[in-house]
């Protein structure tokens, strides 16, 4: 899997190809060309390039091209040996703080940091002098000089992994420190270490060539590329290829290591997106709603919204035709499990989704404005900016950590309302005050990390209030917060809506929050709305089996303590493989053959409620089976 991913990239392909050639030459060079490289031709001393000697001969008339090929082995072996020394020492020094006591550990870390600060060249020369000239001394010198950088990298990686709970769990279970290191830590930092070692090997190769070139490295009669370069230097103006030939070899081999390292890094890396995005033909096959007109009187009207994420094999249909409206001043909740498409729906409405994810809709009308109509995104965002506010679950990711909070809020008004810097900042302070942040002047000058979670969330709402929003989209705004802080944030939202008359689209997996705050609720499952009903009816009058299970699964302060909690058996549908028929059928206690074959349409009742279920409202079997979560 991984290997194929590495090879499929152009960088990886080039890197591996080159590395294979280099290693082949290193292994077989002396065998194949060793004799030829040793032949002394007294008639051809210091010859230039010819058909017989491609890059000429040396002062004994030996063929330089063969010698470059033969030198590959020593050059590569020395580079790898030095890298290995760096790596082993680095791992020992980097992991030591975890094993030894706190004080000694700090001392080691400090020492490593001091060494890292020294220029590498200085260290190499220093050690080269200590260990004396020659291949072995040079390898030790380069290896030692490279160790501090590895140690620091290793230390950082170890520290990051040590934070993970599984390390704590192993310690609590009585696993010894050494065992924890070997079994848990090292395997989990191996990938970045290998990547770095591969890249470092390229650099070491260069350093080595430099040392030999200076006469500190490999000594005659042995020769590596650096030595060959040094030998060729005398005639550089007459026969430049004699010096350049081995130089090119160094560059090619270095490149081979670096590109391979890059390719590994890219393959291991997370969040790295590949350049190849497949564009699928628009999925028009399964629209079930007739094209509906935008609902009059609604601040937001969404018709047959679809969001598709290009996937490796199947496109992931995360939102599969969602139609709903939010009327002026109304609060609409969206509930469902994670992965049901709630957040993507919200992001799509706010036009915050970018390529390669595809958003399609019959219509997407906000405040009389068609958001799906072309036009440049710049002006669209400008118009949206002040009338549509968005609040996310983790405002830490929505604020730029490098900028102070006040100016970030002010930015909104400067961009959207063309206020001056000073006026915008004043408004920011005013808005922070409006969201009940104490000492707003001082707070405005602080960075996001100086705010607590609840305060950041309020500041985020404050950012939405820089204009006069007609709709606030809040995606799990209180999920990461404590009950008391959650209450404050919800009250703030309610107050803001009272003052401005803004409508609210509140996304939450917490049924209780939605019932408290919202007028109407949309229940989503596998990218579709499966039920819509008044929030007041959610607990008692829901008709879809999924909605009823969702409500029953959450304990509240009145839950019957004598009975097990209701659970929803099985797992949510994988949006890349949505089954035929009702998507909930595999988990539904009422499912029958019809459910598995025919997808139930979302039907409206006269009262305006909607439900998509063949057996809506039928009683559930009393004893819902419990299966793995």
């Amino acid at each position: 899997m991984r290997a194929s991913r590495v090879l499929l990239r152009p960088v990886g392909f080039a890197g591996f190809g080159l590395l294979a050639v280099v290693l082949f030459v290193a292994v077989f060079g002396p065998v194949l060309w060793g004799d030829r490289a040793a032949v002394v031709e007294t008639g051809n001393l210091l010859d230039g390039p010819s058909a017989e000697h491609w890059i000429g001969t040396d002062n004994l008339g030996r063929d330089l091209f063969s010698r470059v090929l033969v030198a590959a082995r020593l050059s590569i072996v020395l580079a790898l040996a030095a890298t290995a020394i760096s790596m082993v020492l680095g791992i020992v020094l980097g992991a030591a703080p975890m094993l030894v006591g706190r004080r000694l550990g700090r001392l080691i870390t400090a020492g490593v940091n001091v060494l890292v600060a020294f220029p590498g060249v200085l260290l190499v020369l220093f050690f080269a002098v200590i260990f004396g000239v020659g291949a072995r001394g040079a390898a030790l010198a380069v290896g030692l000089a490279g160790a501090p950088a590895f140690a620091r990298l290793c230390h950082t990686l170890v520290a990051a992994v040590s934070e993970r709970d599984y390390i704590a769990a192993a310690r609590i279970a009585g696993v010894s420190k050494i065992r924890v290191l070997v079994r848990h830590v090292l395997p989990n930092i191996a990938e970045p270490l290998i990547v770095n070692a591969t890249m470092a090997a390229g650099g070491v190769l260069l350093t080595f060539a430099g040392l030999s070139f200076l006469g500190l490295g490999v000594q005659a009669p042995d020769y590596d590329w650096g030595k060959l370069m040094q030998d060729g230097l005398n005639g550089i103006y007459v026969h430049p290829l004699a010096a350049l030939g081995p130089g090119i070899a160094v560059v090619l081999a270095g490149l081979a290591f670096n590109l391979t390292g890059e390719a590994f890094a890219a393959a291991f890396g997370i969040g790295e997106t590949s350049g190849r995005v497949r564009r699928e033909a628009p999925a028009t096959a399964d629209r079930e709603h007739a094209v509906a007109a935008p609902e009059p009187g609604a601040v937001l009207s969404v018709g047959d919204l679809r969001v598709t994420i290009p996937g490796a094999q199947n496109p992931i249909r995360a939102v599969r035709g969602v139609t709903f409206a939010v009327r002026d001043g109304e609060a609409v909740g969206v509930v469902g499990e994670s992965g049901s498409g709630k957040s993507l729906t919200a992001l799509a409405v706010a036009r915050l989704i970018e390529q390669p994810i595809r958003v399609e809709a019959d219509h997407l009308v906000f405040a009389g404005e068609d958001l799906m109509a072309g036009g440049d995104p710049e002006s669209l965002r400008k118009r949206l900016g002040t009338s549509l506010a968005v609040v996310f679950q983790d405002p830490m990711t929505s604020f730029n950590p490098a900028h102070r909070v006040g100016p970030q809020l002010a930015e909104v008004s400067r961009f959207h309302q063309g206020l001056s810097r000073r006026a915008a900042f004043a408004r920011a302070v005013d808005r922070l005050r409006a969201v009940k942040i104490r000492e707003p002047e001082r707070r405005a000058r602080q960075y996001p990390f100086e705010f607590s979670g609840g305060m950041r969330q309020r500041a985020m709402i404050g950012m939405g209030l820089m204009g006069t929003p007609r709709l606030i989209i809040a995606d799990e705004p209180t999920t990461a917060l404590d009950v008391t802080v959650q209450r404050q944030v919800l009250e703030l939202l309610a107050e803001v809506r009272r003052d401005t008359g803004a409508a609210l689209l509140l996304i939450s997996h917490d049924v209780s929050v939605v019932t408290d705050v919202c007028d109407r609720v949309l229940v989503m499952y596998a990218g579709r709305i499966v039920e819509e009903l008044p929030a007041a009816d959610l607990r008692t009058l829901a008709r879809h089996p999924y909605t009823r299970a969702l409500v029953a699964a959450v304990p509240d302060m009145e839950t019957d303590l004598t009975r097990p909690l209701a659970v929803i058996p099985g797992l949510p549908v994988d949006p890349a493989h949505i089954p035929d028929g009702c998507a909930f059928a595999a988990r539904c206690p009422l499912a029958d053959d019809r459910c598995r074959a025919v997808e139930p349409p979302l039907l409206s009742s006269p009262a305006g409620d909607r439900v998509a279920c063949h057996k809506a409202g039928q009683p559930l079997p009393a004893d819902t089976v419990e299966v793995t979560a």
């Binding site: 993970r164 709970d165 279970a173 009950v483 008359g501 049924v511 209780s512 699964a553 839950t559 793995t628």
Partner: protein, 254 residues
């Protein structure tokens, strides 16, 4: 008789005192809920009991003796909040569980024991060969529980073990916690900021506020007739039915 006992425990990080002389008993077979806002010191209390936080003064006793912090015998086990951090991504479920076992077992016996533990947390024995990446969040928390059980503990410290889970999964894990207590007679310190969850699993509740326990008692009593101001604030903040006064303030609008 109390199994786990915090006696006047303080924890200080630098100049910041996180726990201020906390005393709490977890009796045999009892589940004690620990509630409070984030930063109040709930996790620190649990971590101190297993040696992950430095106890500045006071004592944490197990059956009257200090909690063992060396050797294979580890009768106090902890389960963590984040299901994505609590299992080594490179170890199979079976390996993770086997690591926590007290005794060295032969291959056959080990596999049987893994299967037994997986069955206790309602997972199929075939899961033993899976890597965590193939498990859902709820399944990971079950494995983390099985790992804790593998050490044959007397007390389990559960730190927000359902907070990161979807509601549909949370219920199943809570049922499991209650089953385990009923079937295995385990003692448990159950940490959560969700009062409805604590109400469902705990027989006693302690309320932690700024590093001090401000209220303690039987769950029904503490949640039904809170005496401390802070407990009342906590209860008033809960969304959901029975809190109609607040529902009004949240919905009231032009």
């Amino acid at each position: 008789m109390s199994v786990l006992s915090f006696r006047d425990v303080s924890v200080r990080y630098g100049s910041h005192t996180v726990l201020k002389g906390v005393s709490l008993d977890v009796a045999e077979g009892q589940t004690v809920g620990l509630v409070g806002e984030s930063g109040s010191g709930k996790s620190t209390m649990a971590r101190a009991a297993v040696g992950l936080a430095p106890v500045t003064s006071g004592q944490i006793l197990l059956n009257g003796h200090p909690v063992p912090g060396r050797g294979r015998e580890r009768p106090v086990q902890m389960v963590f909040q984040d299901p994505y951090s609590s299992l080594d991504p490179r170890m199979t479920v079976g390996e993770s569980i086997a690591e926590a076992m007290r005794d060295r077992l032969g291959k056959k016996a080990r596999q049987a024991e893994i299967a037994r533990l997986l069955a206790l947390v309602h997972l199929d024995a075939s899961r033993a060969g899976d890597l965590p990446s193939r498990l859902s969040g709820g399944q990971r928390q079950r494995v983390a529980l099985a790992r804790a059980l593998a050490a044959r503990p007397e007390v389990i410290l559960a730190d927000e073990i359902t907070s990161a889970l979807d509601v549909s999964v949370q219920g199943a894990v809570l049922n499991l916690v209650r089953d385990m207590r009923r079937d295995l007679g385990l003692s448990m310190l159950f940490i959560s900021h969700n009062l409805a969850v604590v109400r469902y699993v705990a027989d006693h509740v302690a309320v932690l506020y700024a590093g001090e326990i401000v209220e303690y008692g039987p769950t029904a009593q503490v949640l039904g007739a809170p005496r401390h101001e802070y407990t009342r604030t906590l209860i008033d903040a809960i969304p959901g039915p029975g809190r109609s006064a607040h529902t009004m303030t949240l919905k009231e609008q032009t």
